[in-house]
């Protein structure tokens, strides 16, 4: 589904954010990407739908080359859902309109159909009663669930999560993770940047560990949590699992 091969990414001439990164996510697979801050995990996930351009290597999404100038990027992006650290709901639109905007403007669905789809998804994330509120009237956890519903409204073939719980208060993290666990169990293809190792243990198939722009470790979940091969990953795990 997602093929990332030998990707190099530079910010300016002096800083290489990604160094020869190669990995892949198969259909129905849940892959967790972790690593210390500044290791390039968010950059990597943003390269998958070309929010960030890459300078070397190639990324292939469902058979379509992302970094090909001939690719219709808006069309490709509309098929991949993305959830951001800071939710990024559109503050001037009601919750239901946040869910309908791209359905209508990108997929050309009728308003009625979009609303129907939106309502069904709001029910799925347990927020039906908030459909006519504005994002600023919802808690962080609720906003992030709306953001997930907004991405799902596009019927994505895969979902990308960029630290979806990092900006949340602790008691709101679980409500968002619950939605994500359900999604994973339904067989959604997911690439998740997160520090939530509990989530990784529960639903991930593979874990990728990154450091300084490199993929240091790319292992099955059990191997990763059992005994990571690299010392760097062992150190990282001991730090975040000891509390």
């Amino acid at each position: 589904m997602i093929e990332i091969s030998h990707v190099d990414k530079w910010y300016g001439p002096n800083f290489q954010a990604l160094k020869d990164c190669t990995t892949s996510v198969a259909k129905g697979e849940v892959v967790v990407v972790c690593g210390p801050s500044g290791s390039g995990k968010s950059t990597l996930i943003k390269c998958v739908n070309a929010l960030e351009p890459i300078q070397g290597g190639e990324i292939i999404l469902d058979g379509i080359k992302v970094n090909d100038p001939k690719t219709n990027l808006p069309k490709l992006r509309s098929r991949v859902g993305m959830v951001f650290q800071h939710f990024e709901l559109f503050p001037h639109l009601k919750i239901i309109d946040n869910l309908c905007l791209a359905q209508e403007k990108v997929l050309n669905r009728s308003h009625d159909k979009a609303v129907e789809k939106g309502k069904a998804l709001l029910e799925r994330v347990g927020l039906t009663v908030h459909a006519n509120k504005y994002p600023a009237e919802l808690s962080g956890g609720q906003q992030q669930r709306v953001a997930i519903a907004r991405a799902l409204a596009m019927d994505p073939i895969a979902m990308l999560f960029d630290e979806p719980t990092s900006a949340l208060d602790p008691e709101m993290i679980s409500e968002v993770l619950d939605v994500m666990v359900d999604l994973a169990r339904d067989g959604m293809t997911m690439m998740v940047v997160t520090h939530e190792m509990g989530f990784a243990r529960k639903v991930a198939h593979r874990v990728i560990f990154m450091d300084q722009g490199e993929i240091v470790e790319d292992a099955n979940k059990d191997d990763f949590f059992g005994k990571p091969r690299s010392e760097r990953a062992q150190k990282f795990l001991s730090k975040i699992l000891s509390h």
């Binding site: 808006p74 069309k75 990024e88 709901l89 403007k105 990108v106 600023a136």
Partner: protein
Amino acid sequence: MNYNWNWNIFFQPNPMGTGTYLDMLLSGLALTIKTALLAWIIALVFGSIIGVLRTLPSRAASWIGFAYVEFFRNMPLLVQLFLWFFVLPELLPRAAGLWLKQLPNAPFWTAAIGVGLFMSARVAVQLAAGVSSLPRGQKQAATALGLTTVQSYRYVLLPMAYRIILPPLTSEFLNTIKNTAVAITIGLLELTGQARAMQEFSFQVFEAFTAATVMYLLINIVVVTAMRFLERWVAISGYISGK
């Protein structure tokens, strides 16, 4: 000071046979309002286009935006008006220059366009600031949903940017109204022009300019009040100064 106050002057007939002196001032007021409204529309349209150009990643676009703004805001308004009115017709081929000079209402069109373009540079800077003040993730979220750049601006970025810059836009609207007074120099008989004419015919300089001052004040109070209503009308529930 030996000044003969005469507040009844407004109700005496003016020497042009167009009614009283008050009628003269009111026709000036009407022309000021017409000129200012047209100038403001021009300022909003051109300012929005240039403002958006300034925020695009394309270097050519931001260079055009930069050049436009620096050209129009770094030259005194009076000089710009002289350029459009006296210099431009001479620079054009003879026939075109002649046609321009013989246009009916040339001072009106020149003033509206001249003031409009001058103000558009200021609107552009503010709109660009409004767009850049939005979280970077908003553009990314819109892009990730598959919206094109035009759609992202139309449905996501601009609705918020305009809301944010409404208070400074109010000031710019007021400036536009006041700046139309410069048109007296190219022979437009707007409010300031008529007040001056009244002074020359009647020698009641204080009465003429007191009346003009009060009229300027009144239009500006109307504009400020209307903009406050607009601000409250578009305010978003729960967001900054929401209702």
